[in-house]
Amino acid sequence: MKNKQILWRGEMTTKATLFRKGLAFLSGGISWLLIFLILPGLLFVGVSFATRGDHGELLWKFTIENYERLMGFSLFGWTPDYLIILWRSVEVAFVTTLVSVILSYPLSFFIASRPAKSRYVWLTLVIVPFWTNMVIRTYAWFYLLSPELPLAKLAIALGFIPEGTPLYPNAIAVYLGMVSVFLPFVTLPLYSSVEKLDWSLVEAAQDLYSSKFRVFRQAILPQTAPGLSVGIILTFVPAMGTFVVPDLLGGAKYMLVGNLIQQQFGSSRDWPFGAAVSLGLMILTMISLQIYSRKGKEIEIL
């Protein structure tokens, strides 16, 4: 039976040959991903249960100490430091996503309402920051908030900060940087949904005397949901793990989980703890997305 001739896309072949050929095509890419993505991931889980040697080397001795540390338990009792960092990362990612969504709606409606020719220019204006390196955009904020520039001078004149200090590191600087970095990640997918919007539904809702809020919730939101979902995921996931923005604009005062991970692989050289924090981040991201997808379904049902 195995050698029975079959016709596949115009070619007379057998199932076995077809299978062999397909495997040959898959082998390169899949083995690359297995070796450099899946295996490292599994190894990472293992490492998070390993021990750090005195000089930062890996000792394959099973322990759950790394997770205990992440939860705040140490030789000196319980401290919530790491948990605060984890919670803060969720909070920053959430607020960044929310603000980006709120700003993206007017922006994508505005772009969609432009005449065809200038619409392309406006769209390019959003695509360029999307593709500009994150370090450069963060650096630009870093510079804009530095002591010699008008923004900081104004704050100094108003007495918010002492003479000669920049407007960072603090939470506001982190949020400014985060929103400007991630905003295009929401706007672009959202725009692709807004562009296809069926306006007759909006008009129908208006004709039936819906409040503005109801028009948005029942006529616009469901239609833009696909783009919005992509935008939210594209923003939330990287925002949780980002470390360039909080590193330059938040400093030690406003550390996020990305900085904590980077520290373990950089200066502290504590791979097992770094792996444990990474898995913590992974789990938090999954939980948040899970909550979102459940809430998202409710919105669709409404």
């Binding site: 896309r9 115009g10 077809l18 299978f19 397909g22 095509f25 898959l26 390169g28 890419g29 991903l33 450099f36 993505l37 899946i38 295996l39 490292p40 991931g41 190894l43 990472f44 700003l103 007017p106 409606f109 505005f110 309402s113 390019t124 204006l125 695509i127 360029v128 920051p129 593709w131 500009t132 390196n133 994150m134 370090v135 450069i136 955009r137 650096y139 630009a140 904020w141 870093f142 510079y143 804009l144 010699e148 008008p150 400007s180 295009p184 996931v237 949780m240 793990g241 980002t242 470390f243 360039v244 330059l248 991970i261 692989f265 791979w271 770094g274 792996a275 990474s278 992974m282 991201t285």
Partner: protein
């Protein structure tokens, strides 16, 4: 198209202004002859000229380019072949969902986790061979790993668009495997392959985290250079370099847009 409410318009313009304010500030200062501060002392291109005297910057630019070109080349070949393998064979439901998962993981996983796990793997491989010392090879492997998935996703959607009729027609006309691949499938797939390669290239230029984790002393890239320079103190040279990179990005974006429009026409 409908008109939009003035409030929406103001909000939208504010948002665009917000996106560009910092970049504009940096661009203005990059042509200001004052060394620091917000005082206009006349137009100059000196800071740009000086960039080309700085060996560190030239080296970093070269590294950035090598990294992007080599990783894109590898990822485009592997990703394209993978996409053909996925969509041209009658895989079962389970295999298909496995393949889908493999393509989606690199897209959704936070890059810092990928970087961390590669640091550990290369740390272990280093004991076997010094080839895996922190540096260009590690960075290329890291970049290819996330690029493959993006290339494969783009090429796969192009393959879905092509459909199977042309292939069957080719077979009916007695085209050999090789002829069919080279003269029929490849030209049809080309727009997808080019789009995938461009995406991979830009992703490589955009990356900071993987390079930051995996780079060695001789493999600094431009984003790493800027990041390190900021910690030492802001200089007009960095303004010039950043502005130049933004301009290159503009050229790439507009170029890609033009190219994709041509494909459609």
């Amino acid at each position: 198209m409908r008109n939009c409410h003035p409030i929406i318009k103001i909000l939208a313009l504010f948002t665009v202004w917000f996106l560009y304010l910092p970049l504009m500030g940096v661009a203005v200062c990059s042509v200001n002859s004052a060394r620091d501060g917000w005082v206009w002392k006349g137009f100059t291109l000196d800071w740009y000229v000086k960039l080309f005297d700085n060996e560190w910057i030239l080296n970093s630019a070269l590294n950035t380019l090598i990294l992007a070109v080599v990783s894109t080349a590898i990822a485009t070949v592997l990703g394209t072949v993978l996409a053909i393998g996925i969509s041209r064979f009658p895989w079962g439901r389970k295999t298909n969902s496995f393949l889908n998962m493999m393509l989606n993981i690199p897209v959704v996983i936070p890059d810092i986790i990928m970087a961390g796990s590669l640091v550990v793997v290369f740390g272990i491989l280093r004991e076997v061979s010094s080839m895996f010392d922190m540096g260009m090879i590690d960075m290329i492997i890291g970049h290819v790993t996330f690029q493959i998935a993006f290339v494969a996703l783009v090429v796969r959607s192009r393959l879905a668009l092509i459909g199977q009729d042309v292939e069957e027609a080719g077979r009916d006309l007695f085209a050999s495997n090789w002829y069919l691949m080279r003269k029929v499938m490849l030209p049809l797939m080309m727009p997808g392959i080019v789009a995938g390669a461009m995406l991979a290239f830009t992703l490589s230029l955009d990356d900071f985290v993987l390079s930051f984790f995996l780079s060695g002393p001789d493999s600094q890239t431009l984003p790493l250079y800027i990041y390190a320079a900021v910690r030492r103190g802001v200089t007009p040279q960095i303004h010039a370099l950043s502005t130049l990179i933004v301009l290159v990005t503009v050229v790439l974006v507009v170029g890609a847009e033009r190219l994709s429009k041509k494909e459609v026409a």
